[in-house]
Amino acid sequence: MALKSLFRAGTITLSVATLVLVAGLFSAERVEATDQSTAPDAGVNGTGGTIEVADARASREVFEALKTLRNAVQKHDRIESENGRRAAALPRRPERKVVAPSFDSATLDSLIDRSLAAAKTEAARRTTDEEFVRRVFLDVTGELPTPEQIVSFCRNRDREKRGKLIDYLLASREYAENWARYWRDVIEYHAVNVNRNKVRSDVFVSWLADEFAKNAPWDEIATKMIVAEGPNDKNGAVNFAIAQQDGSPVEMAGEVSRIFMGVQIQCAQCHDHPTDSWKRKQFHEFAAFFAGNRVRREVKGEDGKVLNAQQAKKAMQAKTKGQPQPKPYFVLFSQPRPKYTMPDLKDPQKQIPVVPKFFLASSTDTIPDGLSATELRKLAASYITGQDNPWFARAYVNRIWYVLMGDSFYNPVDDLGPDRTANLPEIIDTLADAWAKGGYDIRWLFRVILNSKAYQREIRSVNTKTGRTPFAANCASRLRADQIYDALAHALDLPIDGAGGGGAMKGIAKKAAAQAKRGPLTPRDALNKLFGADPSLPNDDVLGTIPQALFLMNSPQVNKAIEARPGTMLGQLLMSTPDNRAVLEALYLRVLARRPTTSEVESCGRYLSAIGDRRTGFEDILWALVNSTEFLSRR
């Protein structure tokens, strides 16, 4: 530990950062705590430059600082020796073993076919190549295929082409980003952080996309989110805890349980739940694992050093003087010996101490006293992601299945149990089990589902005589906001630039950027605000809104892009293509990623002749396509 060796070296050369840190921790640090806090300890690594001590006043200050340091180090030593004693007493966790699964898409289909036969339901037809290519692009990468990609895929005679396309898409950066954004929404739509500007979604998304890109196993990724500490502008994973009201034990417990296990134990926070088997005490025992998280705000100076409170304040006001304003960030750190208490229902003034215990753990597991917040979170992560916890795999498989199939075993996707009944539980149990044993390989799971006959079926309306039989067909759902953004940019050929925004989409974010406190709001962010929806909601509950419809129907941004004039997609198309039928095919391919049906060709033809003016007619057709249900649907 840097702090200790520094002190023992007996030098009066001090790490400036350490001094600042220590001083900050003992004096001005404003701890935003919701649980019972013990005094913050100086167990923080200091890094940074050094100073030579010059005069007497300074040496007195240094002496005081050294005294503080010595106390801190002594305290730290005490804790470390206790840690040594405790290590033996930690509950033994089973080792992670990886067994290559024999389960594949064919196994999955045989299970589903059996259930369809039992229900006497006929499965929907296999998708056409056109239908498949749009669906798999949207599901994996979040983007529409280009007209060229559609045409060349449909012409390709390779019998293995679907599987090859799936592998190609799963290897793309777009796959990693699409799913990182999906999980960002899963977290943020429930986050109750008091200050939304604290959560660095951008850093979170790029961190998670990197994890997906290298196919890190899900237990590793989940663990990183649960145990993350440090600055949230550098460590993307830490934003998970920051979104949970700065790692508040109650919020962490509820969200970790909901997101990673599909267990809504937080309903038991206030009272024993009538329809769930979890008790209030069990909730608080779980929350006790997340006690002792602390968050502090930091600002760095131009030289990259952390500023003290006064310097930071001054630096933040610098904008008036025309200097660049530094960006504050938030550091999550742990307390050495956090204590957790729950309110006594009988006497609101009283708090009852609670010892951590995982609600699915064996009753013989006891957690030794005095673990640090870091140790407690690591232990919680091990319980949650362990191969002995079936809910962890089920929750993930159920979610991914829902997005890919439009229907799932458990719905809502974040409420699995233990007292919920699943559609075809034997299928999810078998699949989730194989996935867990295989080491939570994310791309493996995608490949099994995407290559199945079940995934590749056409959609079917639910309003049929027989109603919905699970997995007899794929189910249509609404695109997520990020997908709508990409689809709009693609359909209308708008230049997009993820970082700063460009071209026509820029108008959407222009004024918004001026308002945003931290960094410019991208056009994507702006559209996400308008079209965003909680991805944990059942698809049937995710409906459009009036402002969304108003935007697509009437906004100048969309309507300018729809116009047939030089420089627009339609303008160029009409100029380069004299044949109306060819223009129509190109429009359909671009906007809906398919060719028009015969009756659509006829209707559009009639419309064009009734209008008379070619440009006006095609503008109206393009408007109708962009405003259509299908444009906003995955099918």
Partner: protein, 431 residues
């Protein structure tokens, strides 16, 4: 909880400023087609009562940031905590308020002040959520705002404008009640709402809609997307109904005479209050008008004086105007923010967050005006008499609007959530 943030989008959508006011008017009239021959007041007479089933509505004047009770309706001239704020008499003898509110002082006969509000939440976002929903924020349940909850109870399902409108920025949304009760945000009352005006003439707009519906039938419905199409159609139906509604004329403040516009104050907040009255007149159930900047950690007096310069005429004129039109009995008007401010003046001549004691002002909706309920201690640090909690207040709103506060709505997890959980009606309001 995305809804906490300001609706950045609503601003940005105005980006191009493509629609001029004149254009807006012309199109509204064209859209109204057959009805355009009637004046605005004729329309109102035709529709208002038939549209509001129970005839009750609510206007919330929201003081974002937490207004100081000392500089509003609970001044302490005799105490050093009073901060030297001037005090004036009102039209009700015995009731004195801060001197920054001369117009409201005249309207005091119709206004009741509760000086003994008390709560524990001193964080802006969390308190804002609580004062809008009656609940603390939670990851499990998205509580609907009180406004959305009452729209769900008394809004006419056939009404063609949004049930809930928020003027001057976004507010806490409908949560688990879903999109039908989401507030429609009007960023600037002086401009037509965002994207409500079709970019093409009405006949072409209608042709486009018909074409879309034909193509959907022939394409997506046949391909198995029928369920999705019918949901989408219902949203488009509602949206087009709104765009083409003659009641959209309510958004056009130019239809008011200049004197009344001046009385409300030619400020975004003042004109927002006027817009609220016009919306309530045509049948909108809940309107929130937002005033920001009440988080006065520095120079509280100076800043409240300035803010009151816009809120005082807006609030007072709204109450008088509603009364003159016979609407006050049916319209509950609430003035409040998320908490109060510290009694002690800080070194920056400001006041910090203080949920322990704060005040709200209420008018209309059957509330007996001209009274003060409860009291704070002489130095303002405690509630001296008759504490009122947030849920007592919410329950009283329900009482005024004739809504059952114990009515339960189901969360997506099937948890029953009462409109107001606990609390009891502040009976003095209705004495």
């Amino acid at each position: 909880m995305y809804d906490f943030t300001k609706s950045i989008l609503q601003v940005s959508m105005n980006g191009d400023g493509a629609s001029t006011r004149r254009g807006f008017l012309r199109r509204v009239v064209a859209g109204a087609a057959g009805v355009s021959a009637l004046g605005f007041s004729d329309l109102m007479a035709l529709n208002a009562d038939e549209l509001r089933k129970r005839n009750m509505s609510c206007i919330l004047l929201w003081m974002g940031g937490g207004p100081s009770q000392m500089e509003t309706f609970d001044p302490k001239p005799e105490n050093k905590n009073g901060g030297g704020t001037p005090v004036i008499d009102t039209s009700v003898s015995g009731i004195r308020i801060a001197g920054y509110w001369p117009k409201l002082a005249q309207a005091m006969k119709d206004v009741t002040i509760i000086r003994s509000m008390t709560n524990k939440e001193g964080n802006h976002e969390r308190a804002t959520y609580q004062l809008h929903t009656g609940y603390a924020p939670s990851g499990t349940v998205k509580h609907p705002s009180f406004g959305a909850a009452i729209c769900n109870e008394i809004g006419d399902p056939k009404f063609d404008l949004p049930h809930m409108v928020s003027v001057g920025g976004a507010t806490i949304g409908a949560g688990m009640l879903g999109v039908s009760f989401e507030p429609f945000v009007v960023q600037d009352p002086l401009k037509p709402p965002t994207n409500v005006i079709p970019p093409v003439p009405a006949d072409r707009f209608v042709r486009r809609l018909k074409l879309m519906s034909t193509l959907e039938r022939e394409g997506y419905v046949r391909a198995g997307g029928g369920d999705r199409v019918s949901e989408h159609n219902s949203i488009y139906h509602q949206t087009v109904g709104m765009v083409m509604s003659p009641r959209m004329a309510a958004f056009n403040l130019d239809a008011e005479n200049a004197m009344i516009r001046d009385a409300y104050g030619r400020t975004p907040f003042g004109q927002g209050c006027l817009l609220a009255r016009r919306l309530v007149e045509v049948g909108v159930t809940f309107v929130e008008v937002r005033s920001n900047g009440w988080d006065t950690h520095q120079k509280t007096n100076e800043r409240v004086e300035k803010l009151a310069g816009t809120v005082d005429p807006g609030f007072a004129t709204l109450v008088e105007d509603l009364k003159k039109r016979g609407l006050l009995e049916k319209t509950l008007v609430i003035w409040m923010g998320e908490f109060g401010r510290t009694p002690k003046v800080n070194p920056n001549a400001g006041r910090d967050h203080f949920p322990k004691v704060f005040n709200v002002a209420i008018a209309g909706g059957g509330v007996k005006g001209g009274q003060v309920i409860g009291a704070s201690s002489p130095d303002g640090t405690d509630v001296k008499d008759r504490p009122v909690t947030v849920n007592d207040l919410m329950r009283s709103f329900c009482h005024a609007l004739k809504i059952d506060p114990a009515k339960e709505n189901l969360s997506p997890q099937g948890r029953p959530i009462k409109i107001v959980d606990g609390g009891s009606v502040v009976k003095e309001l209705f004495a």
